[in-house]
Symmetry: none
Subunit: 214 residues, 4 copies
């Protein structure tokens, strides 16, 4: 237990708090203004700390952003860990519904992360993009392995184009998340979101699974 803390042995709890505080604040501002328009001074002013303080914890602006990406990734993995145990042996469509809903709720619970991953991520710049892609890849791998398992269990067509199907699911999921969560417009109620998630899942099920599992 207390695994989190033991990863970074040299950091005192206080220092770790400060680091998280900066990360938390940076997430909000990066999500709002993007990487390039965000200035270190924005973060520093927001937190009422010294201009040099972030540099105690992060090499530079890029490393700060990368740490942020990393922490979002970490959150996602934590989120998954706490869910996966239960999901196991449901009916195929139910399994998908649950998984899909999981992703959506993760983003809904942390729209700033959604904005950073879905809006700024692609095309940000050559040195940062790989790190964003890495997370993206993680999502994609999960989808892909789900599909493979589906084929294995004979609930998905053997000859389906796995890579393509993965992209269809991923594209739909990210667009839905982007449109209903990460845009700067009015936020959707959880109720309405659940409806949308359900409907979307039904559509995707139709193109993923063999007819008898719809």
């Amino acid at each position: 237990m207390n695994l989190q803390k033991s990863i970074n042995k040299t950091k005192t709890p206080k220092s770790r708090d400060r680091k998280n505080q900066i990360l938390e604040c940076a997430k909000v501002i990066f999500a709002r203004k993007g990487f390039y328009e965000t200035q270190i001074i924005d973060i520093v002013n927001e937190l009422n700390i010294g201009k040099g303080t972030p540099y105690q914890y992060f090499e530079n602006k890029e490393e700060l952003f990368l740490s942020l990406i990393e922490s979002i990734y970490q959150s996602w993995r934590d989120f998954r860990r706490n869910r996966s145990s239960a999901a196991a042996l449901a009916a195929p469509a139910d399994y998908f519904r649950r998984e899909f809903s999981g992703i959506m709720h993760f983003f809904h619970n942390d729209p700033d992360s959604a904005k950073i991953l879905l809006r700024m991520g692609p095309g940000i710049n050559r040195s940062i993009e790989p790190f964003v892609s890495r997370i993206e890849q993680h999502f994609i791998d999960e989808i892909k392995s789900g599909i493979k398992k589906g084929i294995e269990f004979d609930v998905i067509e053997k000859d389906c184009n796995i890579e393509l199907l993965t992209n269809v699911i991923f594209g739909t999921a990210t667009r839905i998340a982007y449109y209903y969560i990460a845009r700067n417009n009015e936020t959707v109620t959880k109720r309405k979101l659940d409806g949308i998630i359900g409907e979307t899942a039904e559509m995707l099920i139709k193109i993923i699974y063999k007819k008898e599992y719809w």
Copy 2:
């Protein structure tokens, strides 16, 4: 006679060429490096022109980028105009196949535009984003009106969630375009791309149209 000249004194053919030359070059570099990492000097060096020359044609870097977006939009509309006549009275699924294929080939013919629209567009910054969104909206409106027409002609379910369905199609299309065209990886052959387009269209047809029109 000589009407052209008297309308627009400063836009001689030569000056128009230079403007397009800058725009063309800017597209390639913006597509490769993004808005912020692209420097005017990159464009200027590439073209072997003076550092001040782009400023003869564009107010500033942002206006240059916006003009670029505008010219991509223009290209798209030209592209559509030249196609629309033929598309009219096909079977529903065929109609969709053709439309979908159209979008994909537009991007395939101009991958830099695809990169700019699909990668850098979302989340670039507050003052530019609206212009990117405007084009996005254009795509979305076309999809939406296609769906409405489908409902009207009774080939799509009356109670379908139009907004959601639009997002599913748009999300799928942009992801496919992004993945197979706009990423910085190896480019796909036209043959392979056509296969992918076809397969994707089949999937989407399943969730768009009533079963009898698949």
Copy 3:
């Protein structure tokens, strides 16, 4: 006769007109915006001529400004030539009244010259100032020689500090001209200006001439 023209033998009448046109326009704009804030393009746009045209007549911006100064100087000398004949043997105070009034009316007839000489002149920059000073010196020399003549004719105190008295007269004259003519405020009517000129002259007479010549 036709002295003016013969000075510059190579210039055709047309070319001379164009040069004067540029000079005239430059005067107005320099008077309004000052040397540094005036751009060649301002002049060129105002005249609807090509951007390169002023460079047919003037080496560069500075030489254009210097030519302008020179032409103002020329105007002043022309103005003097046309007056001096009459002024000769009046009573001392009358002589001064007439001279003082002359300067003031010169500026009143050409307020732009007044602005350039009185406002921008001093302190403009190291390379231009000497040329402005040269004109200033011309005014000062005239004042000084008037004083010397007055001493000679025994109408001014022998032991007066000529340099200082010159400065007092010059300082008063330029301030009055500046205040009532060259500021950007409402312009004074000729009637009111004449009143002011008269009153000022009476004051100065008191400190210039021996009491019996007031």
Copy 4:
């Protein structure tokens, strides 16, 4: 306690020194080269500080210049405050001699301020001029109120043109200051300057006061 600090967190004594140091240096260079010919890099090189340092204290070049004007104005007011107490109930001519001498010595003690106010001030540019005029107006108001008081005490003619008389005094004073102090020529000795001040005052007294107060 520690009140000072809590009022103005960013203005530590050290930072205030640096600001004054920049202001002081800027005064010398602006006085020498004028607003437009002075480059930030001139100041920065002179002080051996970083190119960005002035921007810690001033928004931009114009704001730096304006702050300088403001600080000259402040100096003048401080100078006045320390003198005014004594001046009160002298004979009219003595009062004027003292006042006039005061202005002259202020400029003599700080010729750079004189240069900036008297040479560059008028006509510098539309956005700066008002701030220079404001100080000029302050001088003018003092002269004017002196005249009004003189009329009240019956030592100046009732029907004198106050505005005009003010301009004559101001024009004379600024010309004398300009000629003997602010030109780039040899500087005058204090002894000689005092002589000039005295003589000038005598001249002005003749046109300001009724004869019995000369």
